[in-house]
Symmetry: C2
Amino acid sequence: MTATETLSLGAIEDLAFRALVKAGTSPQNARPLAVATAMTEADGVASHGLAYIPIYAQHVVCGKVDGTAIPILSQPRPAVICADAATGFAHAAIDQGFEQLIPLARDMGIALLAVNNSYNCGVLGVHTRRLAEAGLLGLGFTNAPASIAPSGGATPVVGTNPISIAAPATGTGEHDSAALLIDQSASTIAKSEVMKYAREGRSVPEGWVLDEAGQPTTDPAAGLKGSMVPSGGYKGVGIALLVELLAAAMTGANLGTQASPFSGTAGGPPRTGQVFIAIDPQVSSAGGYADKLRCLVESIHAQEGARLPGDGRNTHRQRAGERGVEVNAALLETVRSLS
Amino acid sequence: MTATETLSLGAIEDLAFRALVKAGTSPQNARPLAVATAMTEADGVASHGLAYIPIYAQHVVCGKVDGTAIPILSQPRPAVICADAATGFAHAAIDQGFEQLIPLARDMGIALLAVNNSYNCGVLGVHTRRLAEAGLLGLGFTNAPASIAPSGGATPVVGTNPISIAAPATGTGEHDSAALLIDQSASTIAKSEVMKYAREGRSVPEGWVLDEAGQPTTDPAAGLKGSMVPSGGYKGVGIALLVELLAAAMTGANLGTQASPFSGTAGGPPRTGQVFIAIDPQVSSAGGYADKLRCLVESIHAQEGARLPGDGRNTHRQRAGERGVEVNAALLETVRSLS
């Protein structure tokens, strides 16, 4: 059994904040990332919570991310906000962008936030959930270093590029909640899982990765040199390309083929991008949005054993708010040594 | 060998137009549908071209679609256009909506068209391509009668709900072209393919459909009573739900569980929905959009055997413009008898 310690969400945020600041991150950049780290642990996505703090700290030190960057915001058109993350953390740029995006989407009916010169934004659904909590339908897209090959090819051209949508329960304003949250990568499995198998010296199941020649393999090291299997074949490639068009070609961020890796210390800032689209869900439904959503959710909950995307994270989050989160003791020791 | 006859795109449009009008469609509703029929044949998607004209004509006669409907347009917010298709053909509502959406997206940077009380919109990519040809990144979403079950369940709750994006080559204005076109359903295979196998009395390959108990089957009839397999498992369900949130819950259209079938004559109008989001791709890339897109396209074309989504349709379309389209002679006889 792995030794764990239970921490409150406040304690997780505080610990993450101190480690980030000690590594050289400015307090205004460390705060949104520390908040997101606590929310990610609350959602039960431990792989992207405190476990990432040592990597973030290392990347501030080696210059893969500028811990003291100041995002530059602009509004080039009435319904579009741009945030140049200036090679800093994505979270500060997204946070400041959302302050403008949310009221703008309410006014305009739809608005877009384009983030470029950015970095790994962590769990995409942590961000779209905030739009839903503000009563908006929140769509999110983020690109990543290339690891998926095109159909018929073997060389990666796009990342595992996730897509997310968070749907507010009522869509009526400030204090809403995410009734349905979808957050999924374009690959069969997350790349971080393959890296975990490689570290542990285990074979991966068939259907996760391909080698450099595009052939199936169960060797995680060969897969990491080769490519990730797209979810549903060419349709997974299609989703990854859709994300690449929005999060990179449209924002001006680096394409997956141009970006430096998210892992390791080499290559300087990845300069990847994010796009968020916020929509007022009441705008064309004549007030029927909440009823339609409830009907959709009930059609799934009515089936024994059926799963609604986001239910797992919602259950985790509620329990985490009440009882805190169990954190791996060895990881906790590492993060505490950094703080 | 199947007997065919070669028709020009103009002749296909004209034939479709006359058959639709003779069935009781108003000329202003028949024209955009006839144009889309010719464009669908040009793209090489014969299953959704002239082959649908007898079904459309039948649906006008039985009242599943109102051939003389007049779409009602409104602009509830500065960046949102709504089109109530009034149980008429989707194409007329989309056409009139695009007349407002395209200039609005150029002004606002992003704009949304929500269509409700609508009908099967045919090939989604035929519509998003038009946004790309106007220099805009075009996203499209349309829902359909329920045929995909949630993960862990066996009763369908969402349709095969396709998603599409069309990317303009330059993004600089009126006379652009679609350099990349993605148009894919949330299921492993289109439902129309399963219906074709059922008509022909053939077994379908494993992995296409599930029976009413949610178990794999190769019997197309059992599959049509059961459900379609989502592409990539729960991720296909996720895409279908994303589309349902936008095209139905947000527009006020019928959910997949509420909609009458697209096939057959029973149940009255399906009242499904479509959403289109148009984005000026230059707005945040500091003019770099066209270069990024070219680099992405070249990374795929540089690999022998690799396929870029949309290349097939573009090649077909060019050839169709020059040499016309081969149409099945028996189908042609049927459509001619209706015109």
